[in-house]
């Protein structure tokens, strides 16, 4: 029986879709059978981040409305043996799907997959309700900024109201150089404020932009962000993984003459 995980944040642009793509791909690399569902109807993005945009035939709304079988709408990612994507509809709006329908869909998929990862749209309206309806646990993504943390707190409150069984926090785009100089909240600060279990810290990494350009999630590669995402995947499966040392020092000369990031 699979587990349904919703990736949510409240605020837009903090890295929900990137996180969904990387966690999903990472779990597939760990030999789990995974399906990613993009529930951001009208603003479809997970397909391009995954590099699967050219292969879409049917979408989530088609499945819900019975225009196709679930199987037909799932796009198989050929790079990994057990990774599938159910894309969102680009030309419809959020009211095309109801929470109850999403719940039914998730229950169906649970029989076939180990993990069903749902990319939640920004906001707390219908799209959020749809995304969390069938979820067993949530990954809340935030960045160390006041606006994102505030929205994350609101989302955590709403997840509690939905009686979400498990809620974990991912602090995304942290810059250790700024944390060190006192210009960015640390992950400890964020965890203290939000009082929720931390499952991962992802450093700000240019590699993420390159990976998105190429439609190839960077999870599992040698970069700090790639390692951080892989560690999150392992923690999702229940493994105990120590947190990365993101503050590893740059060399003296690099700091002295390197350009300021």
């Amino acid at each position: 029986m699979g587990e349904v995980i919703v990736v949510t944040s409240g605020k837009g642009g903090v890295g929900k879709t990137t996180t969904t793509a990387n966690v999903g791909t990472g779990l597939a690399k760990l030999d789990k059978k995974v399906v990613l569902i993009d529930t951001d109807i009208g603003l479809r993005n997970l397909d391009v981040v995954m590099g699967l945009e050219n292969r879409i035939v049917y979408n989530l709304v088609d499945v819900i409305e019975g225009n196709c079988k679930i199987k037909q709408a799932l796009i198989k990612d050929k790079r990994y043996p057990n990774l599938y994507l159910l894309p969102s509809a680009q030309t419809r709006d959020k009211s095309a799907v109801k929470p109850e329908e999403m719940k039914q869909l998730c229950d169906q998929l649970k029989g076939e997959f180990d993990y069903i990862i749902i990319d939640c749209p920004a906001g707390i309206e219908q799209g959020f309700e749809n995304a969390v309806a069938g979820a067993d646990r949530a990954l809340v993504v935030t960045t160390p900024e006041v606006s994102a943390v505030r929205d994350a707190d609101r989302i955590i409150g709403l997840l509690e109201a939905h009686e979400m069984k498990k809620t974990d926090l991912i602090v995304n785009r942290i810059r250790m150089d700024m944390v060190k100089t006192g210009d960015m909240m640390s992950s400890d600060d964020v965890v203290e404020i939000l009082a929720v279990n931390l499952i991962g810290i992802v450093p700000d990494d240019e590699g993420i932009i390159v990976a998105t350009n190429n439609g190839e999630p960077l999870v599992g590669n040698e970069s700090k962000a790639g390692q951080a995402y892989m560690n999150i995947c392992r923690r999702v499966t229940g493994e105990e993984v120590p947190f990365l040392d993101l503050a590893a020092k740059k060399g003296f000369f690099k700091r002295l003459f390197g350009k300021k990031k």
């Binding site: 160390p144 900024e145 006041v146 505030r150 100089t181 006192g182 210009d183 909240m185 002295l256």
Partner: protein, 178 residues
Amino acid sequence: MAFWDYFFKKKSDSATHAVDRIKFVLQSDRTGLPQETLERIKNDIISVLSKYVDIETADLDFNITKAPSESGAMTPALCANIPIKGVKRNTPAAPAKAEAKTDTAKSTSETQKSEEKKDETKKDEGEAKKPESKPVIKEEKTVDENPELGSALDKTFTFKKEPPKEKSVEEKKDTSQK
């Protein structure tokens, strides 16, 4: 630039500022209470405590955070850390009790008294608010109730040293008779 940055790195505190601001905002977000109400709750608590003990207003920490309830769910909880400098000798505890027992009218004057004191405390912190300073002006009758402020606010204490001391002695006698 990078060269000088390396040797003259200034430690900034914008992150601390961010943490303080977000904590402040989340207090009212979580409780649904307006910020002003929370501020008043804080000041009322301070004024009640300062009746009995000298508190360090500069270092006090007053937050509404989330804490696990008995059922395990996270619920908003008030967490206050108020450093106590010392215990007051002339605690007004006895008079307060006596008044409350004898007369309800007097007990209202007691609350007014605390209001005024709250205002005094605020001034002490240098952050007096306009709306709260208003009612104090009306309460002329509570002027002689200042002894509690004595040791916390030196100015007031030296100013009205004589009469309050006598009064507190009287009140103590009252309770001892009871």
